[in-house]
């Protein structure tokens, strides 16, 4: 090793920018969450405007918290720790700046488009294709900068935190690209490349691993750097960290199907998801134990140091969430918790506890150091800690209770074998829990405001060090290995090989799960009576996706008596083959809609018309928002031929040249629904322009009436006794 010390400086400016961004977006994302939660208590807070209605504000909340708050938190921590662990400045200040401003631009574009109703309708991947491309480009910029920094490092060994960063980068790139395959129709409209069961499998392979590789692995990297720094002692066991890393990234990628237990996904894929989810508990808890035991012999300092307090609760929340996750992946537990607020509680223990508190701990540690001063008020930070902790408890406990009650009420039967409760009875029983949850959220947001004030005051009294001087010897070009060495040490010095191996590790699970489901398309049993959507139904489905109906309504009936009694025959894989994207949903704030147009669930056109204008007119005490704009806005028929052509390219069997006559077909079907509504006009809650055949509500009604209808006519189609 050379003895010549090289002088260089760490770039603190980019860390500062990401730190400010994470604090700002924390506030925005959490305020959006507060609004969303209050909308369930006070439906008038939907304001009868499309941009402020739950189906659009909820994706805004989830995207803002995940990609804006946590995303900027990741970059803040990575840019600070990577430079120090590599003993090198970021390779390019320009790329750092492009990354920062590019990411903020994407966030703003996401907020505007989501509220405007431009969405792919796939949870946590709602952004439309131009933004998906922008994300890919910015992610490449981040990766290039990171890898070049690693390649020009002055520390030979790659510390375990960097492995987590590398695995994060490569896996998120893979997930984002695979899940975002879509067929553009216009600048802000596309259809998922996959359909039905396959779309669901890819989506939850992505969705689960977004949790794994966006909310977990980068934060584990931060944990392995910042807890030792804050506690001023090395990590408890480096051996454990190596096993933790490989076991975690190997196992995580398989676990996605646990989001689809008891759905139409093939049984074997469900079982794989369950097995690997249960196995995940080992590396997850290995990581948690490693984080907590780093503080062995220093627990007295946790009482004094607010940074450590935040970090200890964060790691504990990680432990709780990663114990609960495998439990929820058991089919018998999933049967209770899925579609209920239990999942919402689970997610928020992770988001508020693990991601939130770790970010706050890092901020409280970083800001005084970069501004060369002490924290303005330890007392205020302690208040933040306690009010935040109370907020998490007040959030989670009512939601666990609500989830349990949801399941209990909806599975109760009377002595004569009938369902005891209407869906609405359950909804009305939730109001108190929802209100308490909002209070918990409010406390948590107040804590964040305390933090922002504290940071601002700290900054005011300090002096920012934009370029932190450092010196280290350059790496010797020819590294001499002393004696024998193990193969893993070889990898630990080679970032590119580490990237390739990480990619192989995460590819295996995805390939094994997806290849059989995709290749054997014919084995998803097709149902002869399931027909492609008519142009009007397709348009109605696009409106359904646009308004985010999937955020409250599932379209997937599980094979339980309580569900088949309530909603009808359980869902089959073959029913969804034309669904680009699938709309199975993940939460039932409202009832399942898979058979909304069939059997006992079927309602008249006028019922739907009035229900969408004012849900309480048909279901008193409903908390569903009103959708008055559907009764005035008109269907955009210009795009219909392009939509049909896009569907044809995706394999939907419309006849050759159908795009040319689709509009006429659409108008013909709209006229039938219009005539039916017209005959009952006196009972309708008419919009400003009265009833017109080209209004969006007509298309939505056509779609809702289609749901489940194909299966209902199956016996008729089979025996050819009718040509109706």
């Amino acid at each position: 090793m050379s003895n010549n010390l090289e002088r260089f400086s760490y770039d603190n400016k980019i860390v500062k920018q990401f730190a400010f961004a994470t604090a700002l977006w924390a506030l925005v994302g959490m305020l959006a969450g507060l609004l969303v939660s209050l909308q369930l208590v006070f439906p008038s807070l939907n304001f009868d405007l499309p941009q402020t209605t739950f189906g659009r504000t909820r994706p805004l909340h989830t995207n803002a918290v995940i990609f804006a708050f946590v995303g900027n938190g990741i970059f803040m921590g990575v840019y600070y720790s990577l430079q120090r662990l590599c003993k090198a400045r970021m390779w390019s200040d320009k790329l750092s700046a492009i990354h920062f401003w590019g990411w903020q631009g994407i966030i703003v574009a996401a907020a505007v488009t989501l509220l405007s109703g431009f969405t792919t309708g796939k949870e946590y991947a709602e952004l439309e294709w131009p933004i998906d491309i922008a994300i890919t480009l910015v992610w490449v910029v981040f990766g290039l900068n990171m890898f070049m920094t690693i390649l020009q490092r002055r520390e030979r060994h790659l510390y375990v935190a960097i492995w987590f960063y590398i695995a994060t980068w490569v896996t998120v790139a893979m997930l984002h690209i695979v899940n975002s395959f879509e067929m553009p129709v216009s600048l802000f409209k596309s259809y998922s490349w996959y359909a039905g069961v396959q779309d669901a499998l890819v989506q939850w392979w992505y969705g689960h691993n977004a949790v794994a590789f966006f909310l977990t692995t980068p934060y584990l990297g931060l944990m392995y750097y910042f807890i030792p720094k804050a506690a001023n002692r090395p990590v408890y066991s480096y051996r454990l960290s190596i096993i933790h890393f490989w076991a975690l990234i190997f196992l995580y990628i398989w676990a996605g199907p646990h989001h689809l237990l008891y759905t139409s996904l093939p049984d074997w894929a469900q079982s794989l998801g369950t097995v690997f989810s249960v196995m995940l508990i080992a590396p997850s808890w290995g990581g948690m134990i490693n984080g907590l035991l780093t503080l062995r012999g220093a627990w007295d300092r946790v009482r004094e140091d607010v940074v450590l307090k935040f970090m200890v609760v964060a790691v504990t929340a990680y432990g709780m969430a990663t114990f609960e996750g495998p439990m929820l992946s058991l089919k018998n537990v999933s049967a209770i918790a899925h579609y209920t607020d239990w999942i919402v509680a689970h997610v928020h223990v992770g988001a508020l506890g693990w991601n939130g508190f770790l970010t706050f701990g890092v901020l409280y540690w970083l800001i005084p150091r970069m501004w060369r001063t002490n924290l303005y008020s330890k007392k205020l930070a302690n208040w933040h800690f306690w009010i935040g902790t109370l907020g998490i408890i007040l959030y989670a406990v009512p939601m666990y209770w609500a989830g349990w009650r949801h399941n209990e009420m909806l599975t109760q039967f009377t002595e004569d074998g009938r369902l005891q409760y209407q869906f609405l009875d359950m909804v009305n029983g939730m109001q108190g829990f929802y209100a308490l949850r909002s209070l918990g959220g409010l406390l948590y947001v107040i804590g964040v405001v305390f933090m922002i004030v504290n940071i601002r005051k700290t900054i005011k009294q300090g002096n920012f060090l934009a370029n932190e001087e450092a010196e280290a010897p350059a790496l010797a070009k020819n590294y001499a290995i002393h004696g024998s060495e193990h193969w893993h040490r070889w990898i630990e010095r080679r970032p590119v090989q580490m990237l390739v191996l990480s990619l192989v590790a995460v590819l295996i699970g995805g390939v094994i799960e997806m290849v059989p489901t995709f290749l054997i398309k014919s084995n998803i049993p097709t149902i002869a009576s399931v027909k492609p959507y008519t142009p009007l139904e397709l348009e109605g489905r696009d409106i359904y996706v646009r308004e985010g109906c999937y955020t409250c309504h599932s379209q997937m009936i599980r094979p339980f008596r309580a569900e088949t009694e309530r909603y009808g025959e359980y869902s089959k894989a073959g029913e969804f083959i034309y669904d680009h994207p699938f709309q199975w949903g993940s939460k039932r704030t409202g009832p399942d809609l898979a058979r909304e147009g069939a059997g006992n669930n079927k309602k008249g056109n006028a019922w739907h018309y009035n229900h969408m204008a004012d849900p309480t007119s048909m279901s008193p005490s409903s908390i569903m928002p009103r959708y008055p704009w559907l009764h005035t806005d008109t269907i955009d028929i210009d795009l219909i031929p392009a939509k049909i052509r896009a569907m044809q390219k995706l394999g939907v069997p419309y006849s050759e040249g159908y795009d040319q006559i689709a509009v006429a077909d659409l108008q013909k079907q709209a006229q039938i629904i219009y005539d039916d509504l017209k005959s009952q006009e006196s009972q309708l809650l008419l919009g400003e322009n009265g009833l017109q055949p080209n209004q969006e509500i007509i298309a939505l009604i056509a779609y809702l009436q289609k749901l489940g209808r194909d299966l209902e006519v199956a016996p008729v189609a089979n025996n050819q006794s009718s040509t109706k």
């Binding site: 392995y224 066991s237 190596i242 190997f250 074997w268 893993h488 094994i512």
Partner: protein, 52 residues
């Protein structure tokens, strides 16, 4: 839909899970062997990187 329906249609499919299990188990074992064979001194050196 049962697993068998999917499996029957893929030529040589039985080798898929075997390969994956083999890769997973072997890497996991190698990592374990490696970590436990490391000297205490090396581990101390590595875990102190953030503090140096």
């Amino acid at each position: 839909m049962k697993f068998i329906n999917y499996l029957e249609s893929i030529t040589g499919v039985s080798v898929y899970p075997l390969i994956s299990l083999l890769i997973f188990t072997s890497i996991f074992l190698l990592v374990c062997i490696y970590t436990f064979k490391q000297s205490k001194q090396t581990m101390e050196e590595l875990k102190n990187i953030p503090l140096n």
